[in-house]
């Protein structure tokens, strides 16, 4: 089944800290309908999961490992929770500030830079252990993922409003 970490060190503490800090999100004023919030949270977990399980798998690419070992650990599952606040806040502030035109580009770049910084810390704390991956590869990856994320949000809110109107 799920293996437990061999050493309870910085990467486990990092994951626990971020997941615990995420509880602050519940204190934020509600901006999005619950059904959309759930979709956003699930998508935040699903996209990294697919990427991790495709390119970080032991074969054929093995570009990086998650946490301590090559086995699938309990903290690899808890790590999914680390992505939730990232996705939620990205949409939350987009909805709050509603950037237009070029500001949307700046918004995507800002979140990409933040994500890179966050990943840099995670790498230093051995949450991600790179083999062939480089931090600079994450830049275009985040740009694509964040853009798709915002498009997804635009689409579901449009569909939600349309459903309520009919």
């Amino acid at each position: 089944m799920l293996t437990l970490p061999k050493h309870f060190d910085e990467n486990e503490w990092f994951i626990i800290t971020v997941v615990l800090l995420s509880s602050v999100l519940f204190k934020l004023p509600k901006r999005l309908p619950t059904v959309i919030t759930i979709l956003i949270l699930f998508l935040s977990m699903a996209i990294p999961k697919i990427i991790d399980h495709s390119i970080a798998a032991a074969w054929p690419y093995n570009l990086y490992d998650l946490t301590d070992s090559k086995k699938f650990e309990l903290f690899d599952v808890i790590l999914d929770g680390v992505y939730c606040p990232f996705g939620y806040l990205c949409i939350y502030f987009y909805d709050k500030f509603r950037p237009k035109d070029f500001k949307i580009v700046l918004y995507i770049i800002s979140w990409t830079v933040f994500a890179i910084f966050f990943e840099y810390i995670a790498v230093k704390l051995h949450v991600f252990n790179y083999h062939g991956w480089k931090l600079m590869y994450s830049f275009p990856t985040y740009m694509v993922v964040i853009s798709l994320f915002l498009l997804f949000y635009k689409f579901v809110t449009y569909y939600y409003r349309r459903t309520l109107e009919t």
Partner: protein, 157 residues
């Protein structure tokens, strides 16, 4: 050859799913798709990496087939069956219908073993039943929970 056959079947299923009218709200479909992704990836990692009951082939084209079926085929089948289950009012018939889904998923998994996408190590049909029983069961109850939320927010009439 096998990859093209599977990909063609997958594409046909996706096209059919898009054109045939459904009873589910789009959000339910999106929700279930992500639930099956999360469950499927987690469970297959436990089976392949931790328990080493199955092994993935070392052929690149078959590896991508494994990725596509995990991302497209399994969620699509589960969503389709759950969508059809909305037509069944009798609870026992509904659960029997879900059992049929589990057997279809097990059969598909064995097709992938026979076609060489997976290499059987200590795998048995019992493990396959646990795997798909768990995935379908959890997906079903989470979907019911999400559907109630949709009704509450009046997104579904």
């Amino acid at each position: 050859m096998i990859s093209s056959i599977f990909l063609s079947i997958m594409l046909l299923l996706i096209i059919s799913f898009c054109v045939i009218p459904r009873r589910m709200h789009l959000f339910e479909i999106l929700f279930l798709w992500m639930v099956v992704w999360l469950l499927g990836h987690t469970i297959s990692s436990i089976i392949i990496v931790n328990l080493q009951l199955l092994e993935i082939t070392k052929e690149l084209s078959k590896f991508w087939l494994h990725i596509f079926k995990r991302i497209l085929l399994y969620p699509l089948l589960i969503i389709w069956f759950l969508d059809i289950s909305l037509l069944i009012n009798n609870k026992i018939k509904k659960y029997l219908f879900l059992l049929l889904l589990i057997f279809i998923l097990i059969s598909i998994e064995y097709c992938f073993i026979l076609s060489g996408v997976f290499i059987k190590k200590n795998w048995s049909i019992g493990y396959s039943f646990i795997e798909w029983g768990f995935t379908v069961g959890v997906s079903y109850f989470l979907w019911k929970w999400y559907r109630r939320k949709l009704f509450k927010e009046k997104a579904v009439q």
